[in-house]
């Protein structure tokens, strides 16, 4: 099964390209202390707003003389961390809600789904902004806020998959044999909805990276001096006429990372989704 999966996945050009970008990102994030030529807080006052290559700074420096390449590499850590934790929260809580209410049906289903509908009534980023405005800025709150706004969509997707599976023969057979609800959920439903959750999580990752950048751009995410791609863009804004490259590099980093996750998600969908296979 896994052999066939890998064979099919490696046949998908976009999936492989996405995987390579994601792995490169992970390598940069983990290797940040070794790769970066300077500390992310080190200031070189002799070379502020320097062009790439000047003073040994491969991508130049910002207005405080901090090395842009170093901050980009450390920013990858923040993006990946927020992505993993936020998508993890969204996937775990959303899947739990979706599976339980989808399987139980009745009043809990109606109640939770109305609540999920209400949360989906907020444009995604607006809810995250509102939560951050009340919770206060910071990395931890950003991860929680982005994760929580992802819960309703995960819950919806999972619930609709469970509704399709609930009346399948293997579920009915298990119930007839005396299996408990918990057994059916953990042994039959979760296993069968995993491909859907994996595809959705991979596609949501790009959304989480963009949301983190957006919150940091508005000053609600990571606080200085810790680098994040969003805050680097926000800091570049006043110098956009003098040093446009300061605004270009972090944006390209976001674009490449999100493209990677979207391509990987599309590739996984092609392999795991039976409708796409046919």
């Amino acid at each position: 099964m896994s052999g066939t999966f890998l064979k099919r996945f490696f046949r998908s050009k976009q999936g492989v390209m996405g995987l390579c970008i994601v792995l490169l990102n992970v390598a940069l994030a983990f290797g940040a202390p070794a790769i970066s030529p300077f500390g992310f807080e080190d200031m070189d006052f002799a070379n502020t707003l320097a062009s790439p290559g000047v003073g040994g700074h491969p991508l130049g420096t910002d207005d405080f003389g901090r090395d842009v390449f170093t901050r980009l590499v450390w920013g990858a850590r923040v993006s990946l961390l927020v992505g993993v934790i936020a998508v993890g929260i969204g996937a775990f809580v959303g899947t739990t809600i979706g599976v339980v209410v989808g399987y139980c049906g009745g009043f809990p289903d109606a109640l939770f789904m109305r609540l999920m509908d209400a949360l989906l009534s907020f444009p995604y980023i607006l809810l995250a902004i509102a939560m951050m405005a009340t919770l206060g800025a910071g990395l931890f709150n950003a991860m929680i806020a982005i994760g929580l706004v992802m819960v309703p969509s995960f819950a919806r997707v999972v619930r609709s998959s469970v509704l399709g599976l609930r009346n399948e023969d293997f579920v009915t057979a298990s119930r007839v044999l005396g299996a408990s609800g918990w057994w059916v959920i953990s042994r039959h439903l979760i296993v069968n909805i995993m491909p859907t959750v994996i595809i959705y999580a991979s596609l949501s990752f790009a959304g989480a990276v963009i949301s983190e950048a957006t919150l940091s751009f508005l000053g609600l995410g990571i606080q200085p001096p810790t680098p994040s791609w969003g805050s680097m863009l926000s800091e570049a804004m006043p110098f956009i006429d003098k040093a446009p490259l300061l605004a270009i590099f972090p944006g390209v980093a976001i674009l490449v990372t999100c493209l990677g996750f979207n391509l990987l998600g599309d590739g996984l969908r092609d392999v795991l989704d039976p409708r796409m296979r046919s």
Binding site: R114, L115, D117, A118, L119, S121, F122, P123, Y124, I125, L126, L127, I129, A130, M131, A133, T134, L135, G136, A206, I210, A213, T214, F217, L218, G219, L220, G230, L233, A236, M237, I240, D241, P244, A247, I248, P250, G251, I254, L255, C258, L259, N262, L263
Partner: protein, 318 residues
Amino acid sequence: MGRFILRRCIQIVPTLFFVLLVIFLLMKMIPGDPALVLLGPEASPEDVARFRVELGLDRSLPAQFASYVSGVFRGDLGRSLIYRQDVLSLIFERLPVTMTLSVCALSLAVLSGVPLGIWASLRHNRFSDLLITTFALTGVSVPIFWVGMMLIVFFVLTLGWLPSVGLGSWEKGAWDVASHLILPSFALAFQSMGIITRFTRSSMLEVMRQDYIRTARSKGLRDRLVLGRHALRNALVPVVTVVGLQLGHLLAGAVLTESVFALPGLGKLMVDAIMRRDYLLVQGEVLFIAVLYIFVNLAVDVIYAFLNPKIRKSYGGA
């Protein structure tokens, strides 16, 4: 159809209730004494005590929620502390800029996204399909504000073709107003364009695989007729839903575009309110956009039902 609209309207009630509840609870999550947070650290203890009573913070949580809901239904969203003005009137003052921007962006996204999606589906797996899908994927992989910044770098700073910030003036002519809207509209539209292109393409590919398309072709109908009379009419029905949903996202996206281009709309108002901790203004704006979004969704569902013969017939329509 009437029954469908009525049912859909009734469904809005619990959704609205939960939206109000979520926003109310969000306000309750503000750390510390809300009265002190809202008034600021300079406020005297007497002012804080009076404000607590004014806000109803001395009452039980359900009573506070009931009073909040009744205030909302009377159009009372509170008073902005930084502008010393009614929140709702402030919102209505700034709404035209945001609506103009959102509608321009939506038009741009639809007028380019739909044809691009159709073209890509017709050239499936060819170079132009690859080019369009890459472009669309780029659209959904970049933050709106960065697109705005790049447009400023290219069209304002490098080419000098367009003005970068602020609103144009009608006194200087229609071009002045239009030229100030081009870049923000495009920046805001970019993501939606990608989403609409991707959705139109997959919807068209799905329809083109259907038996009735094969039947139409085997009858000897010309390609243009098969495309216009059979494929497009069916493929574009679900696209309506996506387009409608984009309007809500564009309203939220305006928060960022307006910040980059310094446009005095709802988004700029919200960013200023967040920065200066004017919580009532943030709360009012979030509620306003969420309610607007709910009603846009309702309108989209009704239009979808009207266009989709299956739903129309199941509710006894023509």
